[in-house]
């Protein structure tokens, strides 16, 4: 089985679905001859042709709107927005149309589209190239918000997203694109959407995260083990709709929870998880819930981005506070 990076896993899943389903069409800026600025679509235009891999004009609202029109007319478009910092013109289409098409037509027209976008900080990119706006998407009824955290989950979740009959926004953490390799079999087996993944079992503390921050969260769990603390690590993976049951079950056993995310703190998705625990798991808590997040500041340019991101030390500090609380 080949060991591949996350960006190669994205490419593998796209190729698999292009080959399997003739209604799948890719569209986006520079995705054809150039293979995408991160090479996520490398070679796909050569292999599947210009009728399946469409280079669009530089117009994000049009990319999302085209996908809505194609999807309603029976195709399965997989659109790419080059960076999440440029997704905002497409939000109009996602919020006002993609999320509502099925509902407002009572199922007559549907919107089985995927909107992929590389997200997150930590690769020394220029400004507007490092955002994590997943909470904006997760607020919208009718959408799915998915973020993988490993090559295998990128492959399996992207297959599921493309096969899903409803619109899915799929963020790909740029920091993980080439960070590590993992054995991924091109078996066409999708992973479940709407489900958290327990990456590591534990009994003392629940660490909840998603996307690139999973990497630091797992590192923190390893360090905690050396301190005699057994930390469970949950990868939320699908933020909308949220599998709160898995998180509540874990916190019910451990009584302590730290939520880690890269995006700014206020009204970040960690708040939704904290509220869910307060509503349905309050009496199992042995310590106040901790959030380790990006600060409520404008995302700094690259010289300070590692200070902005929730690193292992900050996660460990929060976990130790939670463990010490009596």
């Amino acid at each position: 089985m080949a060991e591949i990076t996350l960006v190669e896993a994205v490419n593998l899943a796209l190729a698999h679905e292009l080959a399997r389903d003739p209604s799948v069409v890719l569209l986006g800026e520079d995705i054809g001859a150039n293979g995408g600025v991160f090479r996520a679509t490398l070679g796909l235009k050569d292999r599947f042709g210009a009728g399946r891999v469409l280079d669009t004009p530089l117009a994000e609202a049009a990319i999302a709107g085209l996908a809505v029109g194609m999807a309603a007319e029976g195709l399965k478009p997989v659109a790419e927005i080059q960076f999440t910092g440029f997704i905002y013109p497409a939000l109009d289409q996602l919020i006002n149309h993609a999320s509502r098409m099925r509902h407002r037509t009572r199922g007559r027209l549907t919107c089985p589209m995927v909107l992929r976008s590389p997200c997150g900080a930590g690769i020394h990119a220029p400004e507007h190239h490092s955002e994590s706006p997943e909470a904006l998407i997760a607020h919208v009824p009718g959408l799915r918000m998915v973020i993988p955290s490993s090559p295998a989950r990128a492959y399996g979740l992207l297959l599921a997203a493309i096969r899903d009959p409803d619109p899915v926004v799929f963020f790909e953490p740029t920091r993980l694109y080439r960070l590590f390799r993992q054995a991924v079999e091109d078996d066409g087996v999708a992973l479940p959407l709407d489900a958290c993944f327990v990456l590591r079992g534990g009994t003392d503390l629940t660490l909840v995260s998603w996307g690139a921050a999973i990497h630091e969260t797992l590192a923190a769990a390893g360090a905690l083990e050396d301190e005699g603390v057994s930390a469970e690590v949950i990868d939320v993976a699908t933020l909308k709709p949220l599998d709160m049951a898995t998180i509540l079950e874990s916190v019910g056993r451990t009584g302590r929870c730290v939520v880690v995310h890269e995006a700014a703190r206020s009204a970040g998705f960690g708040a939704e998880i904290a509220a869910g625990i307060a509503e349905s798991g309050l009496f199992s808590l042995l310590a106040p819930l901790e959030r380790v997040t990006g600060y409520d500041v404008v995302l700094p340019y690259s010289r300070l981005e590692m200070q902005y991101l929730p690193g292992v030390a900050r996660i460990l500090a929060a976990a130790r506070r939670a463990m010490k609380f009596q």
Partner: protein, 361 residues
Amino acid sequence: MNVVASFQVERLEFLGAEGELLAPLPDFARDPEKLVALYRAMTLTRLFDARAVALQRTGQLGTFASSLGQEAVGTGVASAMREEDVLVPYYRDHGALLWRGVTMVESLLYWGGDERGCDYAGPRRDFPACVPIATQVTHAAGVACAMKLRGEPRVAVCMVGDGTTSKGDFYEGLNVAGVWHLPMVVVINNNRWAISVPLHAQTAAATLAQKAIAAGIEGLQVDGNDVIAVHEAARRAIERARAGGGPTLVEALTYRLGDHTTADDATRYRSAGEVERARRLEPRARLARYLERAGAWSGAAEERLRNECTERVEQAVREYLAVPPPAPAAMFEHLYAELPAALRPQREAALRAAGGERERG
């Protein structure tokens, strides 16, 4: 200095304000029956429209956008489409919807606040009314792209207002349609007013048709109060698109005789004199005068048509008013193909709350 490109904008018109012929009729219009069919559709649209406004005034319908005076645009365009084409309308396209087979009951349900009004029994592939301005232009491009990729001889027809032409997605849609040579036609209902903003405050361009030039596509202006011109322009554009000739932008010059919607009061921002002058140019009377002169229409026929249309509208109103509101569970239906587990507790809570309301009520 050399001229590297030059352009002109053409205008198509056949019927003058008094119903006189300004140019030789196109082939389709030589058959009076065809014109009578358009006249009947415009009349039904107008009576439906007036009844919808009356329903709103009496609290039996939500906010409604009247198409008074613009009937030739919707009827003229939709009548040039084939059944398998796809209409991507905005919200002032009652005439187009009626011609496409959307029922008056469905339209009333939509404006009455019921999603079932978008579940058209007739044109299953047509899009429902689009409220966020200009966003539907890119949908039409996507629909047209799907048709082209599958090699189908079908056309996406998009309707927009004049205010739409100020928005970026209008241009994004035209631009990609031009680059990809898509089978798409965009028709601007230029009724001169975007709520309170008149055309001269909307754009410095001499015409809206010329917006096609920057996108590298065909563009022309038609007299939007001349249903023969609208139909002929739409027919040519649609058939060119179907034959692989690429997209067209059609600007139909007309006038919004009514308020923007029933929530608007146009006397706040425009003069009665302007409206009266525009009324003399309206499309239905113009076609009636032509048909009468051609011996294809009479006062007796007019009375029969009005009675027939009124009866159809009243029947639709009765059916609409008899439709009970959706059950509260409908909020959770069709949100996703299958309701996610995370939403089931909210659905149950909504049903409990609605049950409690009923008990108290």
